[in-house]
């Protein structure tokens, strides 16, 4: 529809009944033209006005890949890339937890300690107490969720700022972690047990069919979902994505998915940690964007008072989010334990939390609450892990590594912030 027509229709044909005289669509809105050309035009406009979405992060990833490949010649090796996909699972899952907390406009500083304590619990129960490993892992995650509930309780019911509750938690749970591990300290995970396999197992023991199947399934589901949604909107008379755009999006995803599958198959196949991490990102994304519960999280993050007045049980939303994030951190902790082959006193300390927060933010989740998605955990942690692995390949001096990590992090975020600021002054902030 062109804008002029709408305006005229409304002005020239006022209905005589109590029915509306003005149209709900504003004639000043520069509506996107139908079809593919319109899509391209809007894309250009968005780029110009700084509404870049994930584009800078993806460009950043490509840049990082190109630079390190140029320097070392090893970065894009199949086995190096496979390693990266395996290693993102641990901190990435913690970052998913962080995204939930950030959406509430809060921060959880204890997630690193929680990852550490649950890894310790799982390892001690399965190795020292000889419990079934599945059960041990479940108990560890349950313990973490209980810890999250405790934090949530102090925050939501007692009113202690989340920052402080989780700061106290950070200290207390790393104490518990030491206590659980006891005097002997480090506990090795069982050889070829469940915990060990979290990191080292490849689906179908490296069978290429699994990789291809996973990729094709993902692409097909995405395409079908987009198509059905557009169809329903069209049927209901609402503006919908044009088919050409859906085809383009699905095509881009297909290329990425199939290239990734090909690379993985060059090495050991489809790593279990990647499958689990991707599945969790997809599920949590669905929860956040397509369920009432997810909507409630956004509402509380946007305005606590408005959410409360809308009848939302704010305390419960807050408590449950802290439970979810603690659960994610616990799962992440198990992956880290699997990766290092043991649970030790320092697991989850140091940079783990920082990297996960940075991942969420780099990926585009707002620190100010109410805006973000779990995909940002995936994108962000890929950036960070690529830089870390790349620097390890280059073997530069440690002090320089620190500074480079800091600088790149800053660079990525500056780009993001500048784009977001332009966006805000264009009224979509």
């Amino acid at each position: 529809m062109t804008t002029d027509q709408t305006t005229n229709a409304a002005e020239k044909a006022p209905e005589p009944a109590a029915a509306p005289a003005a149209p709900a669509v504003d004639p000043r809105l520069l509506v996107r033209e139908a079809g593919f050309a319109g899509y391209l035009a809007e894309f250009k406009r968005k780029m110009k006005s700084g509404d870049l979405g994930s584009v800078p992060v993806v460009l950043g990833l490509i840049l990082i890949g190109a630079i390190f490949q140029g320097i070392t010649g090893d970065f894009l090796n199949a086995d190096n890339l496979t390693n990266i996909t395996k290693w993102v699972a641990g901190p990435g899952l913690i970052a998913v937890g962080i995204v939930f907390v950030l959406l509430l406009g809060e921060i959880d500083l204890s997630l690193g300690s929680i990852a550490g304590v649950s890894a310790a619990i799982a390892a001690v129960l399965s190795v020292r107490s000889g419990l079934n490993e599945w059960l041990a892992c479940l108990i560890a995650i349950a313990a973490a969720v209980a810890i999250g509930a405790l934090h949530g309780f102090f925050f939501a019911k007692i009113g202690v700022p989340a920052f402080v509750v989780t700061l106290a938690g950070l200290l207390a749970w790393s104490g518990l972690q030491m206590y659980v591990l006891g005097d002997k300290g480090t506990v090795n995970v069982l050889n070829d047990g469940v915990l060990a396999n979290l990191d080292t197992y490849f689906l179908g023991d490296g069978d290429v069919a699994f990789t291809w199947g996973f990729a094709v399934l993902g692409i097909a589901l995405f395409g079908a979902g987009q198509f059905l949604d557009a169809k329903r909107r069209g049927d209901a008379g609402l503006p919908a994505r044009p088919m050409s755009e859906i085809a383009l999006r699905t095509g881009v995803l297909a290329v990425i998915g199939l290239v990734a599958a090909y690379m993985l198959n060059q090495d050991r196949g489809l790593p279990l940690p990647l499958v689990i991490f991707l599945s969790i990102v997809v599920i949590t994304d669905f929860v956040l964007r397509r369920t009432s519960y997810g909507r409630q999280i956004f509402a509380v993050g946007g305005s606590v008072e408005a959410a409360r007045r809308a009848g939302i049980n704010v305390a419960w939303v807050r408590i449950s989010v802290f439970m979810i994030s603690a659960g994610m951190a616990a799962l992440g902790g198990l992956f880290i334990a699997s990766q290092q082959g043991s649970a030790d006193k320092l697991l989850g300390s140091g940079n783990v939390l920082m990297n996960s927060i940075a991942a969420a933010v780099i990926g585009g989740t707002s620190l100010f609450g109410g805006r973000g998605k779990t995909w940002s955990a995936l994108l962000g942690i890929l950036v960070i892990q690529s830089i870390i692995t790349g620097l390890d390949l280059v073997h530069v001096n440690q002090a320089i590594q620190y500074m480079i990590t800091g600088a790149v992090l800053l660079g990525a975020v500056v780009l993001d912030s500048v784009s977001r600021r332009t966006q805000k002054s264009s009224g979509r902030g």
């Binding site: 070392t72 090893d74 390693n83 990766q339 290092q340 320092l346 697991l347 440690q398």
Partner: protein, 342 residues
């Protein structure tokens, strides 16, 4: 072998793998030794033994998970020999096994990594503790038997800290009157300083006659707090950092433990090059040791040395660790003269 230093690195990386040695060090927060001594010494020795070999170094910054990533990254780069100073020696069992399966050889450096390592080079850590204890007894001299001791240990999470502690106890228990206060300083100077403050409060200014500090960093803070309380008793540490040597010169600190990094690094480099060239390691690592998981690991165990004001010249200066000019800066010049260094 000799040859030109600084050979073409790019060539190396491509051609591989039989020319590069991985070096993984655990951290650099609590001690400077890793990047200022171990790394350069190993690099130099490797260059000396094999001119076109390179060392690929990474530091785990105190995280076992990070070290695992660096370990795997080296393997992904095609490195065949890795010198591993494990951040958490108990964790490495599965990594080393994985590497062994791929034909990558691992040398346990400084800390005895678990798993099927090809060789082990280290100081005897329990011995370090024993030497510390003995040096403290020596510093007390005749008063030792009547002396009460304060012990500020390393971080409980560090297995070596336990060895230092038990070694020290082995000597001290019996030779001194009593260990009246014992706490972990977590390897952190500020924490150690505050612990000694608590000890002074509790025991009084005359309540103890010497302080055992697990390392020099903590010793510095302990000495500062003692000074501010006007207490002058023997304090010792370990690591032989420049700051500690200066305190030895000025008489504030009684001793430090000098683990001559050079022989340690040289041995590791020799072992690595030997493994790279497919030679037998027994020529260097003639001893044998058992780890928690494996038995009969070829090992080379070196002896640490005690440094006091009296033997600075024969140890750290003789080894070219520091020059007299390094040590005898500004305020230390007079003390240096008195100690006969200048």
């Amino acid at each position: 072998a000799c040859g030109k230093a600084g050979s073409d690195k790019k060539d190396d990386a491509k051609g591989g793998d039989s020319k590069s040695i991985g070096l993984l060090l655990p951290e650099n927060a609590s001690s400077v030794r890793y990047e200022s001594f171990d790394k350069p010494f190993i690099e130099a020795k490797v260059k000396e033994l094999c001119g076109d070999c390179t060392v690929k170094y990474s530091n785990a910054e105190g995280s076992a998970a990070k070290q695992k990533q660096q370990f795997d990254t080296l393997i992904a780069q095609g490195v065949k020999v890795i010198i591993l100073d494990a951040f958490d020696a108990a964790s490495t069992q599965s990594w080393v096994k994985e590497a062994a399966d791929k034909g990558v050889k691992v040398i346990a450096y400084d800390r005895l990594a678990t798993g099927p390592v090809s060789a082990y080079v280290s100081f005897d850590n329990e011995k370090v503790g024993e030497l510390q204890g003995q040096a403290l007894v020596d510093a007390l001299g005749a008063k030792a038997a009547d002396a009460n001791i304060v012990m500020i240990n390393g971080d409980d999470a560090d297995p070596n800290a336990g060895k230092f502690k038990s070694g020290a106890h082995k000597v001290l228990d019996g030779k001194v009157k009593k260990v009246v206060y014992e706490q972990s300083g977590e390897w952190k100077p500020t924490v150690a300083g505050q612990k000694i403050g608590a000890a002074i409060t509790q025991l009084g200014k005359d309540g103890f006659q010497a302080v055992y500090s697990a390392n020099d960093g903590m010793a510095a803070a302990i000495i500062t707090q003692l000074k501010s309380a006007n207490i002058n008793v023997p304090v010792g540490g370990q690591d032989a950092g420049l700051d500690a040597i200066q305190r030895l010169v000025s008489g504030e600190q009684s001793y430090t433990i000098y683990k001559a990094y050079k022989p340690l690094a040289d041995s590791a480099a020799e072992l690595a090059v030997a493994l790279l060239q497919g030679k037998d390691v027994k020529a260097v690592a003639s001893a044998s040791i058992d780890s928690d998981t494996d038995k009969g690991i070829p090992a080379k165990l070196l002896d640490p040395k005690v440094v006091t004001k009296a033997n600075i010249k024969d140890t750290v200066i003789a080894d070219k660790l520091y020059t007299v000019a390094d040590i005898c800066t500004g305020t230390y010049a007079d003390a240096c003269k008195a100690a006969g260094l200048q």
